[in-house]
């Protein structure tokens, strides 16, 4: 029986020194779709940080729309930036030991169409405000995705025990 969800490379587990970014590189083009799962927290002196997501090192061609639930209201925002934004990742002032989850799905990542991105993320910290995001992203580029980078917008580090996994999904 085919194994359709395959771990690509080794999981990223951030060590005690922290990491300035998470990078999946040399992604093979042998799968149909890719899926990334991350549990992260940064060292920024705030409740929240944002992670900037880029493909192949490119800083152009990104658009997104997000629907956000805060625990008391829902709203929507979006726009164009030099990256796709994962907003509301826990920072150093968030409840201790809370890490926030993200799942990012990219179908036909190695094809020649523009790349559609679906991203779901949560920051739940047992505080008054919590955040649940659904994001639609588009990278208007026909290149196959060979690398994905997550960088804290604040310039802070990702802290120890941040983890990231990349899966390849085959349709045959």
């Amino acid at each position: 029986m085919a194994n359709t969800y395959t771990l690509i490379g080794s999981p990223i587990v951030v060590g005690s020194g922290g990491a300035s970014s998470l990078v999946f590189s040399s992604i093979p083009n042998t799968f149909t779709d890719i899926l990334i799962k991350i549990s992260a927290r940064t060292s920024v002196s705030s409740n929240q940080d944002n992670l900037n997501i880029t493909f192949n090192g490119s800083t152009s061609g990104y658009t997104e729309k997000t629907i956000l639930g805060t625990g008391s209201a829902a709203n929507s925002y979006g726009g164009s930036n030099p990256y796709i934004g994962w907003d509301y990742c826990a920072g150093a002032n968030a409840t201790a030991n809370t890490f926030n989850n993200l799942e990012l799905y990219i179908p036909n990542y190695a094809g020649s169409n523009y790349k559609s991105i679906s991203m779901d993320s949560v920051e739940e910290t047992n505080a008054t405000a919590a955040y649940s995001n659904l994001t639609a992203g588009l990278w208007s580029n026909t290149a196959a995705i060979t690398s994905v980078t997550f960088t804290p917008n604040s310039g802070a580090n990702l802290v120890q025990y941040t983890t990231a996994y990349l899966y390849g999904i085959s349709n045959s």
Binding site: Y5, L68, S116, S118, A136
Partner: protein, 161 residues
């Protein structure tokens, strides 16, 4: 390694079409996952599903959506298919739809989906088909225009054990 996600069928469109159907879906899985990566040729169109050729008003759905300026929610009852996305032409987007416990013959069938069209909307839908029949075919419709060339549809079977 055990395989929990098994490809049942896939297609890459060689020409634009308004519908695509997965037939003869085996009953041997627990759940189904449909992944659609589409460009829809009409200015405004939606992807929707019908099951087992049922064209009656036996479907309902509820959704929430964001358009980058506001979040909203709405629903429809007694309609002829379950909507799962809405997008503008020229926008590559994706929709993945979970259809749980699809082959049981006791309960009505539910769907849960996420749709991401960055130039149009971000959406999440739940749907209901009021039938106890096991799902053996899925028809993917578009409300206007066509699914463009190179759009892909893949159906996975998921086993609980």
């Amino acid at each position: 390694m055990a395989s929990t996600y098994t490809p049942i069928a896939t297609t890459t469109l060689g020409s634009a079409v308004a519908t695509y159907t997965f037939n003869s879906i085996p009953s041997t899985f627990t759940d189904l996952l449909l992944v659609a990566n589409t460009n829809q040729t009409s200015t405004s169109s939606g992807l929707s599903l019908q099951f087992n050729g049922d064209t009656g008003a036996n479907y309902s759905f509820t959704y929430m959506q964001g358009n980058a300026s506001a979040a909203s929610s709405n629903r429809a009852s007694n309609v002829y298919s379950i909507d799962h996305n809405y997008q503008n032409a020229g926008t590559w987007g994706q929709t993945y739809i979970n259809i749980n416990n699809y082959s049981n013959t006791t309960t009505y069938k539910t769907t849960l989906s996420r749709a991401s069209q960055a130039n149009t909307l971000v959406m999440s839908h739940t749907g209901l088909w009021r039938s106890t029949a096991a799902i053996n075919s899925i028809k993917i419709l578009v409300s206007a225009g066509n699914y463009d060339v190179n759009s892909t549809f893949t159906l996975y079977g998921i086993k609980a054990a």
